[in-house]
Symmetry: C2
Subunit: 268 residues, 2 copies
């Protein structure tokens, strides 16, 4: 019998180095999204784990993932190459393959976020939310069948989103709290997962699902422990494609991650 207290996010993003720049990993079924397939942010986190092992800096600063084929719940190989390693940042690429076919390509730049000592000027406010302790968990603390991410991530908001009550509000913009269940705090790689770990904002305009084609995330600081305040919105649905912007602010009110994805509406 193995007793482990490892969080599923850590267990399921574990990678093994099997050769120069090459890793193996298991893409599990514990982080599936609305579409029933492993979540894009989860695959991005896997690739960042491999790049974090290759590059001489601890924190992702910016990462872009292109989603090429639907991933499977199956073993994967991750092949990395280092594009440039400098004094302050390093950039590399990771390609995640399953059965020899590339599912995701990630280019990311790493740095030491603690060493970023330049000017700070923040011209936006964090989401205005009641304290998470005053709010009930969405999903009653449970999870959505098949959307296995919701087994490992908890969400709290002042009220349930309209789509969850069968009444999409028509306004694809939401604010809510998010954290891992089980007391695991977020780090920058976890933030790169979490920006893709909530329901798409387009559910509020009556859409059922959306497939991420490309996701770019900026990691701006290591988050303080605790709840994360999130803001998600979509403004431009054009010819079936839409962007989704996501911000994460930490428990001390600092912006820690900002992402934008391009996605394609499914069905309809």
């Amino acid at each position: 019998m193995t007793i482990t207290s490892e969080h599923p996010f850590d267990a399921d993003t574990r990678i093994e180095r099997v050769g120069a720049g090459t890793y193996t990993a298991d893409v599990t079924d514990r982080f599936t999204a609305l579409t029933g397939t492993p979540n894009g942010g989860y695959l991005l986190a896997l690739c960042l784990r491999a790049l974090g092992d290759e590059l001489p800096f601890p924190d992702p600063l910016v990462a872009s993932a292109s989603f090429l084929r639907p991933p499977a719940t199956a073993p994967a190989e991750i092949r990395t190459d280092v594009a440039r390693a400098g004094r302050r940042t390093a950039t590399g690429e990771a390609r995640l393959l399953q059965d020899g076919r590339e599912a995701v390509r990630v280019v990311a730049t790493f740095t030491d976020l603690r060493a970023a000592g330049g000017r700070t000027l923040v011209l936006a406010d964090p989401p205005r939310l009641p304290a998470p302790e005053q709010l009930a968990s969405l999903l009653g603390g449970g999870s959505l069948p098949g959307v296995n991410i919701t087994q490992h991530v908890e969400y709290r908001a002042a009220q349930p989103p309209g789509w969850a009550e069968g009444r999409p509000s028509g306004a694809p913009a939401l604010e809510f709290w998010m954290r891992f269940k089980g007391g695991r705090d977020a780090d920058p790689t976890a933030l790169a997962f979490l920006v893709d770990a909530a329901a798409p904002a387009v559910l509020e305009i009556g859409e059922q699902a959306s497939a991420t084609m490309q996701l770019t995330v900026h990691l701006r600081a290591r988050p303080a422990p605790g709840w994360l305040a999130c803001r998600v919105s979509t403004r431009f649905v054009i010819g079936g494609y839409h962007e989704e912007d996501f911000e994460i602010w930490d428990s001390e009110g600092r912006l820690v991650a900002q992402s934008r994805q391009l996605a394609l509406l499914l069905g309809g």
Copy 2:
């Protein structure tokens, strides 16, 4: 004597195929930015020209560029590979090298934007600007010494930006018209250049220059001919890094490009 009416943007993004997936190009000095080096958006456009030659769709849909080393005014080699070519989109990568060293890495997905027939719902308005015919050109229709982009791109706004008058406004958010000089209309690849072809918004908070580290642009439609209405803003300067968001709307009031870059303040 050669007489040509080719626009400098077309002449200077010309590529030559010299082998499987491999191209040569000249990085000229006609598109230098504030830093005196060739502009990042210009290098991105060069890479998109090569990918457009390799991929079976005409229009870039989303492209991410990682800027690895300062480019030189010198010949370049562009090496491409195709990650996936599907029924509706295709994704490839281009690496631009000078003297054997990689300056820029681009991953881009192409499609036929005319075939995007899904839902459209736009929840934001174009910049509110007087008609360009009612406005004077910034720079008096001339150009900024050393910033050679301004020889080929024209800008019009209701008033000059504060930084240009020595009085930064403190608000890094601007709206203005933009177009190529010489009557060349924009296409999606030109839009990927133009989102990086204006002065950084951080000049309005007293900064002198900023180096783009990563730029992601979404091309959402082929633009109508004529002037382009632009909106640029920065909200988060953290530890010397900042994002910059850029929107381009065409002369018919449609959003045609949306970009975000992560950049590092220089000096100071």
